[in-house]
Symmetry: C2
Subunit: 139 residues, 2 copies
């Protein structure tokens, strides 16, 4: 297994260099060994771990949840009810956000629909924003 400089690791995982250092700062990535000159040298294991983090981030898990997930991944003998709970919570959150955004989308469309580009004085957009009662749903 070859070694990676921080830039190579960045290219391999799609995680930006300062972000990798940030993950080290907050203890999400272990501090790797250093070269003679003090530069970070990462192992393939480190690369996999960063890949795991990146993937979880793409799925919107907060870093604290990822911390727990990594902890689990490192203890294969434990029951995985926690992973279940974390992923379930994320799904519920995603569902809620989709619902909220869908209502919002309708509201925005309604705003833009009845809108003939004229003067601000009779602009439906400005009007709706100024008066909550002019909304169909609450948001």
């Amino acid at each position: 297994m070859r070694e990676y400089s921080i830039g190579e690791l960045s290219r391999a995982t799609g995680v930006k260099v300062p972000t990798i250092r940030y993950y080290e700062d907050i203890g999400l990535m272990n501090a790797p060994p250093r070269s003679e000159g003090g530069q970070r040298r990462y192992s393939g294991t480190a690369r996999d771990r960063l890949g795991f983090i990146a993937h979880a981030r793409e799925m919107g898990f907060p870093l604290e949840a990822i911390r727990s997930l990594i902890d689990l991944a490192e203890h294969p003998d434990r029951p995985c009810a926690d992973a279940d709970r974390i992923a379930g919570a994320r799904l519920a959150e995603v569902d809620a956000r989709i619902a909220r955004l869908t209502r919002l989308k309708r509201e925005l469309e309604r705003m833009l629909d009845g809108h003939r580009s004229g003067k601000v004085a009779d602009c439906r957009i400005i009007e709706v924003l100024g008066d909550h009662a002019k909304c169909a749903s609450d948001h």
Copy 2:
């Protein structure tokens, strides 16, 4: 039109007290007159403006966009193409977010579906997170 203390204004608009002061700091709300003792005293106009801001925030407009929208609202003679543009941009953003979240939702469901609560060692959740190739769509 009655006067509002900052707490009353907060109750009237649903915007928290420190947030109101924050809006003043960044110049989104005008600095209101003060009482003898130096406390803020708001007019009905100020309340309406804060309501406008709160409503726009609920719709997810960033503060900078809201700054522009307020500016527009205060010049009713201008054409409202800008309002159109800002709202349109927000709608596009919302659409994109919904699409992304919907893909994510499917991925999470897939993860949770094939998941019998057992040991971490054969946990589909941990497995998928560790291996990007096990995803249906890219995210």
